[in-house]
Amino acid sequence: MNRIEARLQNLKQKNEKAFITYITAGLPDMAGMRELVKSCEAAGLDILELGIPFSDPIADGPVIQAASYKAIRQKVSAAAVLAEVQTLRSEGVNLPIVFMMYYNTILHYGVKNFVDSCIRAGVDGFIIPDLPYEEQGEIKEAIAAAESETEDACRVPILIQLVSPVSKERIPMLLNGARGFVYCVSSMGVTGQDAKFHREIDAYLSEVKEISKIPVMMGFGVRTAKDVASVKHKIDGVIVGSHFIRLLEESGYSTDTAMKYITEFKSELNRESEEL
């Protein structure tokens, strides 16, 4: 089974919610990133979203934009990050890793070639915020081809589907055939808007939850477990991006800070869910 699916199935059996964080690849530097990934795994993180920096990140707010530019200045490329993931896997890291990236990076690399490189490196999924359902034909074809060519089809990355508060009648189409988890964007626009969720967040999450056969994760603008307290009975997990990056930047990429945040968030997320 794909690492993402295996982990989420395991959580379901334990009746626990998933906690996912985003980090920008290559920060503070490659070695530091590897340490950070290992710390995240040790702290009990369920899935890591690893951001491949891109020059024009239109779905990201100022915090992730700044991190992205910093990484680009340090010459962090998709090829270099793939090599790091491969190293992490060889060192025994089993944390599910999802690449969060923009489509041009994949196109430039070559779609099929990129999917194959991800299989070799041990990447488990893709989140591509500028590739809506209608434009996914090319990458789905590459993924399908890889599944038929690879002996162990579970090593082929999953394309994660994003759903927005205004997707409405598009939701059944988006979820048809979706695997791994559904990424529910909590607000309109970009990442990092400090818990300003969409005004119809309740109805929206309920609708997705009702239709979805796979776990539902909520992301964009989440900082603390409290931010999601009122909606968490409708979701299977939470994604934190900008706030986590801000904590890392402020602490000089301290692994202790990262571990403390993950441990506390996870326990609070699950403690409260037991009370409900």
Partner: protein, 394 residues
């Protein structure tokens, strides 16, 4: 065939949250252009407010100098000084039809920003224009003009602080506020249906020019030429001639300091297909697939991508794309000023410069139409710096 694509170019590479907005926009647009009242309203403002139709002027002295018959389509005589207003009138009437009270726009040199601010003043809409911090400094007078017109100019400090980043920021804001805000894209770029909409509203240029040349010469031109940044004046200039197979279509990109120096804005000369600003098209990018900065003395051509229909016209061979350096464009600007008493925008001067080269391969009686997309008033500071040998900031 997928109507969202021009061959393999175009598409809708945007966040899921904008897909319904684009669908709504396309439906509203298709309905509007079939509504005689909408067409009539557009025509009214283009005539009474913008000052159309613009002349197709026979440039006699230039023709004699270059050795072929040259007609200039005088888009520089439009209100606000360039072709940009044609599209703004159309899109703002569309915004009004959709019940939106707020408009946003991106701008590089400031011409599209000024045109949008003008339209917003005319139709009493709240207007915010996104502009790179560096461009705000380069084009301080246009910032003032937009503010005088009641628009808010939002300084963008991210990435390279220029048009590319202003466009990113406008798209981000639009994704947040699309429920009550209309995004007026100024060039023939962006996700479908924008390239189609911009082409339609700019096609007035070629519709008029075709009728005018038939009146004056009794035949179609041999060559139609225009400069290409994102490609709005050129797609408007080409539109009505695309099906006239005997008319050669020539698009002139900016070669900056020279293609070989790497400091240029010719997406189609050296770019490869990529995805930026919601579309798949030719794009200047580095070895890792990050978007490279364009370089041109002309802020309006200083864009690393190009509209998807141009990419398609290039690949199918229907149009030819060439490039002109900063120095060649500036020489042509001075030449047209002296010979015809017309100071062209630096953007349009790229087309004039290529016309000089191309005319050498043409006969005296051949006919060439050049889109003079804008006037050079906005460029006098850049021209002064250039003449003083100080170069320019980019």
């Amino acid at each position: 065939m997928d109507e969202r694509y021009y061959g393999t170019f175009g598409g809708q590479y945007v966040a899921e949250s904008l897909m319904n907005t684009l669908k709504e926009l396309d439906a509203a647009y298709e309905e509007a252009i079939r509504d005689p009242k909408f067409i009539e309203e557009c025509a009214y403002y283009l005539k009474e407010y913008v000052g159309r139709e613009t002349p197709l002027y026979f440039a006699e002295r230039l023709s004699r100098e270059y050795g072929t018959k040259i007609y200039l389509k005088r888009e520089d005589l439009n209100h606000t000084g360039a072709h940009k207003i044609n599209n703004v009138i159309g899109q703002i009437l569309l915004a009004k039809r959709l019940g939106k009270k707020k408009v946003i726009a991106e701008t590089g040199a400031g011409q599209h920003g000024v045109a949008t601010a003008t339209g917003a003043a005319l139709f009493d809409m709240e207007c915010t224009v996104y502009m790179g911090a560096e461009d705000m400094e380069r084009q301080a007078l246009n910032v003032l003009r937009m503010e005088m017109l009641g628009a808010k100019v939002q300084k963008v400090v991210s990435g390279s602080n220029t048009l590319k980043d202003a466009t990113n920021e406008a798209i981000r804001t639009w994704a947040k506020t699309a429920e009550d805000t209309f995004y007026i894209i100024g060039s023939a770029v962006g996700p479908y249906p924008y390239p189609k909409i911009v082409k339609e509203f700019q096609s007035v240029i070629s519709k008029e020019a075709k009728r005018q040349i038939l009146e004056k010469e009794g035949r179609l031109p041999d060559v139609v030429m225009a400069c290409v940044g994102g490609g709005s004046n050129s797609i408007g200039m080409f539109a009505d001639f695309i099906d006239e197979r005997d008319v050669r279509l020539v698009g002139v990109e900016a070669a900056g300091l020279g293609i070989e120096t790497g400091k240029h804005a010719s997406a189609m000369a050296l770019g490869r297909p990529g995805v930026l600003h919601g579309m798949r098209s030719y794009l200047l990018q580095d070895a890792d697939g990050n978007v490279e900065l364009a370089h041109s003395i002309s802020a309006g051509l200083d864009y690393p991508g190009v509209g998807p229909e141009h990419a398609y016209l290039k690949d199918t061979g229907r149009a030819e794309y060439v490039s002109i350096t900063d120095a060649e464009a500036m020489d042509a600007l001075m030449e047209l000023s002296r010979l015809e008493g017309i100071i062209p925008a630096i953007e349009s001067s790229h087309a004039i410069a290529y016309a000089k080269k191309m005319a050498k391969t043409m006969d005296r009686d051949d006919i060439m139409i050049i889109c003079l997309s804008g006037r050079g008033d906005k460029d006098v500071h850049t021209i002064a710096d250039y003449l003083a040998g100080k170069g320019y900031q980019n």
